[in-house]
């Protein structure tokens, strides 16, 4: 008897996207299996966030194929798509004037009808999401009164309330202090452990390498690497992505290579 077939959650084939004349993404092809944890890395301006927004339908158009669960993105109604994938933007910028609970409840939009009020099951889903993201204690506070880490967790809770299997995250740990980073990463690993597919954009390679099973590197709008962490953490591979010499050292507990900042005295930095 053979293994059960691996279900493909996302399939992108020969996808290109431009803003006016400017090419942002070129010839992107990759697949994400159900339950996988994939990180998208790359230098600033490589097109990571744009790719994520194309996958959610925030940026419509582009050439090529994007399929979610075997169905082209364009065939989904936006509400239908929102029941299957949820997007977590960076929790910065202008915040809406809602309390945490109100904001998380809005995650239930794909299930709400204009003719009824919010149903008990919506409230329950919102509560569960807030508990999973450990933000229950802030339920009645206004978003703008929360710290950056707390906001990020609330945004995650709102995405969880959407009840989707796939989470797309844009820089989930950037600008957060070490403790918040650790908490968010732990939460994401736990969600992945319970079967959620995770696709996260990050410019921070170390956590991505430690958390994800597969990484995708973009540079100037093209995929320049796609593979498991060990294959990525080779000096020549990293050089080809970041155009910089990076110092690698084994992680004290796992032995996996990680990037450390170079010290000024023994700098190996070599700009090309």
């Amino acid at each position: 008897m053979s293994c059960p077939p691996v279900e493909i959650a996302l399939e992108v084939a020969k996808f290109s996207f431009r803003f006016g004349q400017k090419v942002i993404l070129e010839d992107i092809s990759f697949q994400v299996r159900r339950g996988e944890y994939v990180s998208i890395i790359g230098p600033n301006g490589a097109g990571k966030t744009t790719l994520l927004k194309c996958l959610t339908g925030i940026y419509p158009g582009g050439q090529g194929v994007i399929r979610w669960f075997g169905r082209p993105l364009g065939e989904y109604k936006q509400k239908e798509l929102a029941r299957r994938i949820s997007y977590v933007p960076q929790a910065d910028g202008r915040l809406p004037p809602f309390t945490v609970e109100e904001f998380v409840l809005l995650g239930r939009y794909p299930y709400l009808s204009p003719f009824t009020t919010i149903q008990p099951e919506d409230l329950q889903a919102a509560r569960q999401a807030m508990e999973a993201a450990q933000v229950m204690q802030f339920a009645d506070r206004l978003l703008e009164t929360l710290s950056g880490g707390e906001r990020q967790k609330v945004f995650l809770a709102a995405a969880l309330a959407q009840g989707a299997d796939v989470l797309l995250l844009d820089e989930p740990t950037t600008f957060l202090d070490y403790r918040c980073q650790a908490e968010i990463r732990q939460l994401l690993r736990r969600l992945n452990g319970t079967g959620r597919t995770i696709l996260a954009v990050t410019h921070d390679v170390n956590p991505a390498v430690l958390d994800s099973r597969r990484l995708l590197a973009l540079r100037e709008g093209r995929i320049v690497f796609c593979g498991p962490p060990d294959e990525l953490m080779q000096p020549e591979v990293l050089r080809s992505i970041y155009n910089a010499e990076l110092v690698l050292t084994p992680h004290p507990s796992t032995g996996q290579p990680i990037i450390v900042p170079d010290a000024p005295a023994t700098s190996t930095f070599d700009s090309h």
Binding site: E80, L81, G93, P97, L112, F115
Partner: protein, 337 residues
Amino acid sequence: MSKERAFLYILAGLALVVLLTAPFVGMETIWPQTLWNEPASPLAAIFWKIRLPRVLAAFLAGAVLAVSGAALQAVFRNPLAEPFTLGVSSGAALGAALAMYLALPPALILHLMGTTWNIPTLPWCALAGALAAIGLVYGLTRLRSGFSSTTLLLAGVAVSFFFSSMVLFLQYVSDPTRTFHMIRWVMGGLDRIVGYDDLLAMAPFALAGTLLILFRRYELDLLLTGEELAIARGVEVVQVKQLLFAAASLLVAGVVAVCGPIGFVGLIAPHICRLLVGPRHGRLLVASICFGGLFLVLADTLARTLLAPTELPVGILTALSGGPFFLWLLLRSKQTL
């Protein structure tokens, strides 16, 4: 019961009380028993044919202006957005001013299909002007791809200034009587409403437009979180924004055509309600309907009694009374808009 919910009930109660009492108040107080005891008296006629339709029209106009303002503020994610920032009122004013400048007859009498149609010129010219302004604003933004809120708002402001200057120009070149009529029209007022014709013409549109906005309350909430997040949550943002923009503009165009531009209600009523019942549109829209309606009925009651037998234009009163009250609320509230 939460504080917000309590405020909502209080507003609804007050609206009902004001609606029920305002028609009895005026230059001469009409007591309810007069209506029963002397149904054929002149006072009863004043009540049924002048005061009641006017109070109902004031409530409808105030409610519609407030609910459109609340919707537009969310669509544009801008606290300054209101029906009149988008050129609707100046378009209507230009239409009305043109009708007065050209000294069009007060009504067109048409004989069509065996019936005589009596079409009042001024409201229809105002409506045409308002629709032209909306069309222009919307058309301008369609020239470039996308439907950017900021572009639309700026286009509205530009069109509004342009049309206002045309009105000023018409006022300058008209004879004094017509100029006076134009200035009076721009101040807005409900004194034109006699009988139920205007009310019946306005009501179906007002009801349909308001329901349409109420059914989009969750989308309005999500638009406040930003367009990208709204899309990610499942909102068809472009269509919803177009729909809400069209509904709100047409609602206001209908009111302006009948009552002239009554400023302030559309801008401030939603803000005051937000401070009272919070930002969620399920409550906010209902509160805006109650508050906008009761506010305009009160203002109009004052307008027709303060200087009786003369009437004040209600537009002056809405801004005079609402402005300081709003500033007071703004200063003592911790919440930002």
